[in-house]
């Protein structure tokens, strides 16, 4: 199929919830300080999948390494922000709202979706796959769709007689009509109800149209990314996709836990891009994979406590793969708070990179400031 039309850029976010231990993801396996500090929790040199002479992949990241070797992965080393917050909730909030010094209810992607679709014409402009909406996607007045089950999405789905269902939907529409000053939550319910009606009408074609030879693994992240692929290839105008994989808060039992997560993640991401490639739908898609913090340099004998200075990945065909920024220093005099990895690039600069260089939007108002960017995209 000829792809002469320039397709709108699409951005997929995969949140790793819990604080992924980046040091055991992209491993400084030739640095003796790594083994000195991770006396229990190190990956032996012979198990690491080498990336170059100083860094290597966790052994379960094989399918992800494959994408890296094809030049599709930009590793953003040392991503974080000053005085990293160690609370999951506040920490993740900071990533979602770009306001480390105050609590905000406005998500950076809520702002982004508003820029992409100012009149809120298409409630499918931003879709979260999962239950509930992440704060990153929310902004009062901006319709965003959250789908937990793509195969049966819509109101009154239990009323089987079509004419009766239509009648009920019409009354529902009237009940959820123009709310005039009945309170912020009632207004929010009205808008949400109407968005569900509109979105359901549009999205039902996605499962109907989708065909693929790619067989995703039966993991939650695999299912989520397959849903992203099903909607993206249905061409419904979605520009922002969000989903998450949980379980990264490895205070204990990190050695058995983290590999299982990587296995699912690496396979799912690989399958996703293979699926997009099969549909000739990968030219205009990039993915950001991030977590709310890295973890403590020294392990606690079974796992690692919360830390900082982790890493993120930008993945996709338009990405110019390789290592970006600086791996956080393991030298004791450069540790943050005397026990954590110090970040080397502010996450808001990476958001800004995506906003300006990929989505063509002005970054400063969305990320609340100006931050150093990188150049991770191929120039044609």
């Amino acid at each position: 199929m000829a792809t002469t039309t320039k397709k709108d850029p699409v951005f997929v976010v995969v949140q790793l919830s819990g604080g992924n231990d980046f040091m055991n993801t992209v491993i400084p396996y030739t640095n003796p300080l790594y083994y000195d500090n991770r006396t229990f929790l190190n990956i032996p040199e012979e198990d690491v999948l080498p990336l170059d002479s100083t860094l290597g992949w966790h052994p379960e990241m094989g399918p992800f390494k494959e994408l890296y070797d094809r030049g599709m992965v930009a590793i953003v080393q040392g991503i974080g922000y000053p005085d990293s917050n160690r609370s999951h909730f506040r920490g993740m909030d900071i990533w979602h709202t770009c306001t480390p010094d105050e609590v905000s209810t406005i998500g950076w992607l809520g702002n982004t979706i508003e820029q992409l679709d100012p009149t809120g014409e298409n409630p499918l402009t931003g879709i979260n796959f999962g239950v509930g909406l992440p704060k990153a996607m929310t902004k009062a007045g901006v319709p965003v769709t959250s789908v937990s089950n793509l195969d049966n999405y819509g109101l009154m789905s239990g009323i089987t007689a079509e004419d009766q269902k239509d009648e009920a939907l019409q009354i529902f529409k009237n009940m959820y009509g123009q709310a005039v000053g009945s309170g912020p939550v009632m207004d929010y319910l009205s808008r949400t109800g109407n968005d569900v009606l509109t979105g359901a009408d549009i999205i039902k074609v996605a499962p109907e149209r989708y065909e693929s030879t790619v067989e995703y693994a039966d993991s939650p992240i695999g299912k989520s990314l397959r849903d992203v692929a099903r909607v993206h290839t249905a061409d419904l105008g979605t520009r922002i996709f969000y989903t998450q994989q949980g379980g990264y808060d490895t205070h204990a039992n990190q050695l058995p836990t983290q590999p299982g997560l990587f296995k699912d993640l690496a396979r799912a991401v690989n399958d996703f891009f293979a699926d997009l490639e099969e549909h000739d739908a990968d030219d205009n898609v990039i993915m950001l994979i991030f977590s709310e913090f890295g973890r403590r340099i020294a392990d606690n004998g079974s796992g690692t406590d919360h830390g900082s200075g982790g890493g993120a990945f930008l993945v996709g065909k338009p990405v110019d793969g390789g290592l970006y920024c600086e791996y956080p220093s393991l030298e004791r005099d450069r540790w943050a708070k005397g026990e954590d990895l110090e970040h080397t690039i502010d996450y808001r600069g990476i958001y800004g990179t995506v906003l300006e260089q990929w989505l063509g939007l002005e970054a400063a108002p969305i990320v609340q400031g100006t931050f150093e960017q990188i150049n991770p995209f191929k120039t044609n």
Binding site: S17, G18, S87, H88, F89, R90, D93, E102, V103, P123, N128, V131, G132, L133, P143, V144, T145, S146, V147, S148, N149, Y153, L155, M156, S157, G158, I159, Q164, A168, I171, F172, N174, M175, Y176, G177, Q178, A179, S182, P184, V185, M186, Y188, L189, S190, T192, G193, D195, V196, G199, A200, G246, G247, D249, H251, A252, N300, G301, S302, G303, D305
Partner: protein, 467 residues
Amino acid sequence: MGSKDLALKAHLLRRAGFGASRSELEEIAKNGYEEIVEDLIHPERFADLDEDYVRRYNPELSYHDGFQNHAGKWIWRMINTKRPLEEKMALFWHHVFATAYYKSEHVPTLIAQIDTFRNNGLSDIKKVLNDLAKDPAMNYWLDNCENHSDQPNENWGRELLELFSMGVGNYSEDDIKNASRAFTGWTFEQPHPLYPFGHFASSFIYDEDDHDGTEKTFLGRTGNFNGEDIVDIICEQPATAKFICRHLYTFFVEDEPQVHTWSIEEPRNPDAIDAMIKVFMETDGDIRSILRFVFNSDFFKDARYKKVKNPTELVAGTIKLTGMYDIIPREGEALGSLYGSASVMGQALMNPPTVEGWHTGSEWIDGGTLNERVNFAVDQFDDVSTPGFKDILSRLGDQVKSDELVGRCLDLIGPIEVGDETHAALSSYANAVGDLDLSTDQARTENAVKIARMIQLIVSTREYQFA
């Protein structure tokens, strides 16, 4: 009994429990309001649920896998209990001390934790926190079993202060470290492994050899503190009184901003919180006394519809109206489907997303969950042969005129109120079906579906999303 009085008592039952069907409501409403409050805060006055029948019809409950069935059984209890506040307090503490199945996958300890909340939920804060510190499910969840005197683990120490008692901004990172050291050695008996006989229960053990008994400074006090000492000091703090009262307020009275903003956002009703704090301080954090005060206060009585129902309240409350699930689940449904229903609405009971628990209030609602909430409630009235619907039908008498239909149904479902817009839309349906004859069996059968549809529309409203 006036309809205003009935509506107020219905509000009390929705908040202190999971609501009531019309016949339940009329029975309870024979008592005065204050007396109903006393009955609620003294659950021991009423018989506990007999679980024999539910276990007989749900043999999967005899096994400790299939965790959804056990979570579903909890919802069954909420639907059928004669001690509603006891179950509601278990849910309250589960919200605050959120512990999830996905980490341990160990059902016996998870069930035991909820039982603890059920048994001590109305006692005093010191008992509640001490029981929590010794709870094996919590211990494993926050890795306190990995908290050793020679290698401390801060997870429990941190969350005890941040999420379970005082809230962010009231202690230092050093306080966290020292609290953690005080709890070293607090662990649990390693249960038998899963295979081949399934999971076994566990219990708290104190390992003196693994305990750091040296001097610690915590919140300005110094001593060779052990875990109980930490709890004692925590319970003396005004920050604890405020934090716990705020939790009670947001759960029972009115939606507050999300918990993790409380270090910055002040309470919506500072006077109410201050009054609750006063009761807390006077009674050493006696939950029963605080709730007596709350339920009898004007700010509570005026708080109708100021809280968005959490999914469990919506599921249990709506099912109560149908009179189903009293003993036997519906044909082909396992108890686990109750868990599934609340889960897709955003609340996987006994399996919260993180130790922070769930975001409540309007954050229960988004395009996805609103879809699930409406569809669930609508589906409950699909079957016109349920005992609850039949009861509603019989109470409607021989005839319902079209201009009465909306009001009569709103009364029998609640009583609940709706705004003008909603009322107008519901009335358009009533006008379309016209006057309904219910005087003969045949007429009742024909018109039952239309009345069921009216109720389905009512439970789809925006107003029905509120508690």
